[in-house]
């Protein structure tokens, strides 16, 4: 058995060693870390597809200075240790200069620590924890922090004339972060929060969670969340007869459970994508490659922009060395008009002042009704 083990391990090492250091004509390898198993799989896959579309676009245009981009996709299983395993493999064995990652802060922060230690680049497409600002020069976020989006959401609610609101969010950093910022902005404009529900994700049914919201009779409901949990949550709300309007951060990542229930009653803010020409182009490519845009979520745009800015940085720096990429990144984004609109970073590499799209769900489609830059 010892023999078999050491054999397996050695062959793994040998396999990795074959890949060796990069030469000029070699492809540039970029890592992708996403939850391909475990939970939040759909959004992760959407992000990965976005990166793939970007890679297709780059390679179709002849690559970066003649070198094609090659993606190495690793699964994080939505567990910190597996995310670290994945990042360790990408940074230490595949020696990728940069990795694009989908995952909550619980996974993103350990990987950011490792990236910092190894002097590599990590591009965040999903996590919005304020702690991510602690890795300047290592971690760059395509997604803006929750407080920005949350505040815009709160203002939008107040503008609609709503007086009372209930909060129904998952008890994650994302859900609570959005809810807090939105509630603060809403209350500053004279609104009142009448009920707050923070549910644990991963439960099959949320009827008992939504139940207490019904007697509170709010005008609007602040929500955030994605995937199967959002679908189950909306189903419970519909069955319990909630008639309030919904205000969501990134409404496209909600899984719409019943079109009629939410038609004309779901609003929200997102940054870029829907109204930008670059976003439309990505959506078209998505439709061509993945059989239509029915399941398209905003994460496609984040993934797409993530790889695009990394590629632009490599091109500008004339080198795929991580330090050069990190140095070039803040410069190239200034000139980049991407699927999620213009990207502006603060000194920590966190996205600020994103263009905000105001979105309404009408007749089964997310319609951008206004854009604030």
């Amino acid at each position: 058995m010892k023999k078999i083990l050491s054999l397996a391990f050695c062959s793994a090492l040998a396999l990795a060693a074959v890949q060796g250091p990069a030469r000029a004509a070699d492809p540039i390898e970029i890592g992708v870390i996403a939850n391909l198993t475990g939970s939040a799989v759909k959004t992760s896959v959407q992000m990965t597809r976005g990166v793939e579309l970007a890679a297709d676009a780059i390679n179709a245009a002849g690559g970066i200075d003649g070198r094609p981009v090659k993606l190495i996709v690793e699964d994080s299983e939505n567990r910190a240790q597996e995310a670290l395993n994945a990042a360790n493999k990408l940074y230490n064995v595949d020696k990728v200069p940069a990795a694009i990652m989908f995952g909550g802060s619980g996974l993103m922060i350990p990987v950011a620590e490792l990236a910092k230690e190894k002097g590599r680049v990590l591009v965040n497409t999903s996590s919005s924890s304020p702690k991510l600002g602690n890795y300047p020069g290592t971690l760059f976020s395509i997604l803006p922090l929750d407080d920005i989006v949350g505040k815009e959401l709160g203002l939008l609610m107040a503008d609609s004339g709503a007086k009372t609101a209930a909060i129904v969010v998952p008890n994650s950093t994302f859900g609570l972060g959005v809810a807090e910022a939105a509630a603060a902005a809403f209350e500053a404009k004279g609104g009142k929060i009448v009920k707050k529900v923070a549910f644990t994700e991963g439960q099959p049914d949320y009827r008992a969670d939504i139940q207490p919201v019904v007697p509170a009779k709010p005008d609007v409901i602040i929500t955030a969340g994605y995937g199967d949990d959002s679908r189950a949550m909306l189903k419970a709300a519909r069955e319990l007869g909630l008639t309030a309007k919904w205000y969501a951060a990134y409404p496209s990542i909600l899984e719409i459970e019943n079109k009629d229930f939410l038609d004309g009653k779901l609003f929200g803010v997102d940054n870029g994508g829907y109204s930008q020409p670059a976003g439309k182009a990505v959506a078209d490519k998505y439709g061509a490659k993945f059989n239509g845009t029915a399941d398209l979520m905003a994460h496609v745009y984040y993934g797409y922009d993530a790889l695009m800015v990394v590629a632009a940085a490599i091109k500008k720096a004339g080198s795929a060395e991580p330090a050069a990429i990190a140095k070039a990144l803040p410069d190239v984004v200034k000139a980049y008009d991407g699927a999620t609109g213009k990207i502006a970073w603060d000194a920590r590499g966190q996205r600020i002042a994103p263009p905000i799209d105001v979105i309404e769900y009408k007749a089964g489609d997310f319609v951008t009704t206004a854009t604030r830059n």
Binding site: T37, P204, Y206, Q211, P212, A232, E239
Partner: protein, 294 residues
Amino acid sequence: MLQVLLNSLVYASMIAVIAVGVALCYSILRFANFAHIQFAVVGGYLTYSFAAIPGMPLPAALALSAVATGLIAILVDFLVFSRLRDITPEGKMIVSWGVALFLRSVVAIIYGGGARVFDLSYDVVAVGDAVFTTLDALVVVVAAVLMLLLHLFLNFTRVGSGLRALASNADLAVTRGIPGDRLIKLMWFLSGALAAIGGTLLAFETRLQPNMDLIILLPVFAAVTIGGLSNVFGAVLGALILSLAQNLLIYIDFGALLGGESWQIPTQFRDYVAVLALVVVLLLRPRLSPLAGR
């Protein structure tokens, strides 16, 4: 309050249909079968697949799935458990976990990790302040009918009384000419089929996920334990008690009770009730260990 009762009844129905299978298996083979709950998930997915066949009505898909899952349970017993009848109960539990892990992963490979949902149309019915759906009503009725049929089967058929004899004293039953092996196969078929129906009902109400078994593991085992592990109808009662306790706990406004501001226990603490019920019931049951009785 009426709403709490309704919610409890619906939840208890789904748990009970799955829990009786665990009790059935425990009563005859004397081990807690983790794989049983995975049978429920497999059954749910099978119903989903059969229903996708053009022209297949949902009830037929459900029946097919029940039969198929029953056969899978027999197959698992033939391949695994029947060869391990002599090992300790805890050894069997570990093995059954292995089986569950294997099935769960295979389901995930075939269907992917994301959730699947049945696209059902149903209406919402209001009773005073409370609401329920016609689907809820269907779930409760199906569960009740199944339990009634199981009761009639176990108590008023020759095969059923054979099963009961096997459960109360396997050695004696076999020496009296009751065909033990065939009855054990029947037991597996029954519990597999029940699991499939329970799993499908759960999927109707909520969703299908490969790891759904982990979500309902505690409630199901708590229900079975409350009912007395080897008592089939105790499991039904256990499911009702547990479900009621869980829903009441999050319904009661403890803040107002204590004269303060409204404060309720967050819903996610529901599962604490299941675990606590499990522990308390186990503590209260005397003389389980060969050394007990002190």
